[in-house]
């Protein structure tokens, strides 16, 4: 059964009229505090619970434990078939070495693919951290290599990209955005009605979707996408 995302978050079907195709690579971008990790975690976890497939969530920014604590505080439950790989042990034990993080990431994917033949979803939190720990010289080439790997393995992938508020527009020109099949932008907007979080989908190939910003709300029941912000 193919993972369904439209119903993974309450109200997301306001934005997505059709499903994200299997094997799509989606960049999820936004400034700090815009719920990037939570949105991706919720998307992947809910889709897996409904599909019975397996998924892999790689976390570089937070430890597995702190990640779970954050998710729990937002009322988000981890699907049993979502496997979380925490890079912290590798980073701590090999801290004096320059690691080939792209190769390591590919090997981790291969391990889980071998272990679970229906591994269908992949999430990386975050691409910035992966870059910052990787060999600098061949970064662009490595990025293409990673994208090719994800496409070859037919993994529907969510790559989190940090984007400082002042650089949202600059970030839209980043190579990852051109290479990706979809971009989900998360942000904070100030208006007469106060400060609101929003979600916007500027790009999603082969998917019917709205372009306008929708309000993103978190409460004790989890994450919700409300109506258009304007």
């Amino acid at each position: 059964m193919i993972a369904m995302f439209r119903n993974a978050i309450d109200g997301l079907d306001h934005l997505l009229d059709s499903e994200i195709p299997q094997g799509s690579i989606v960049v999820v971008t936004g400034a700090e505090g815009t719920l990037k990790s939570s949105v991706v975690f919720k998307l992947v976890s809910s889709a897996l619970a409904a599909s019975g497939e397996h998924g892999l969530y790689l976390t570089l920014d937070q430890s597995k434990e702190s990640h779970f604590e954050n998710m729990e505080s937002l009322g988000l439950e981890k699907s049993e078939s979502l496997h979380v790989f925490d890079y912290h042990d590798v980073r701590r034990e090999w801290k004096d070495r320059e690691l080939d993080m792209i190769r390591i990431t590919e090997e981790i994917i291969d391990f889980y693919k071998e272990k679970y033949d229906n591994l269908a979803l992949f999430a990386l939190d975050s691409l910035e951290s992966l870059y910052s720990l990787s060999e600098k010289a061949h970064m662009r080439k490595s990025m293409y290599q990673l994208f090719s790997k994800l496409r070859d393995d037919d993994l529907t992938s969510f790559l989190i990209v940090e984007a400082p508020r002042s650089e949202i527009l600059v970030n839209r020109r980043r190579p990852e955005h051109f290479l990706a099949d979809g971009v989900i932008e998360l942000g904070i907007i100030e208006g007469k009605g106060g400060i609101k979080r929003y979600i916007q989908i500027p790009k999603m190939r082969a998917t019917k979707h709205a372009l306008d910003k929708h309000q993103l709300l978190v409460d004790e029941d989890g994450i919700h996408v409300l109506g258009s912000i304007y």
Binding site: F85, E106, I108, F111
Partner: protein
Amino acid sequence: MAKEGSLFIEKDLDGDEHDSDTSCECEYKNYVEKIVRINREVFLLSLLLQRNMCGYELIKKIFLKWDVLLSQGTVYPVLYSFEDEGILRAEFGRGDMRTKIYSLTPEGREVAQKRVEDFIKAVEQMRLLMKK
């Protein structure tokens, strides 16, 4: 690869010896490398049957013992997976919150012993059949 491996030789505090290879051993080394890579789970378990170790030490030990440098991406997922399955327990080293030390659980020790025995038996059987 040799460059990465040389870091272990410099840092070899256990006094393990590491023999340098000659070109005639090339084919032999290729077979050893394949065997270790494909069966790395058994090799990791065999080392953990001897003593508790962290991921870094396990990679180092395999390099020094079999001259095969396993990448972090092929070792740490195995350790995490064993931990999830209750075969291994991970604890931070005493006074060292940087290093997670892996040890076999009582059930894990049984699993490890069985897997290592089966592996050795398979290799022995293979050797006997090839000589027949």
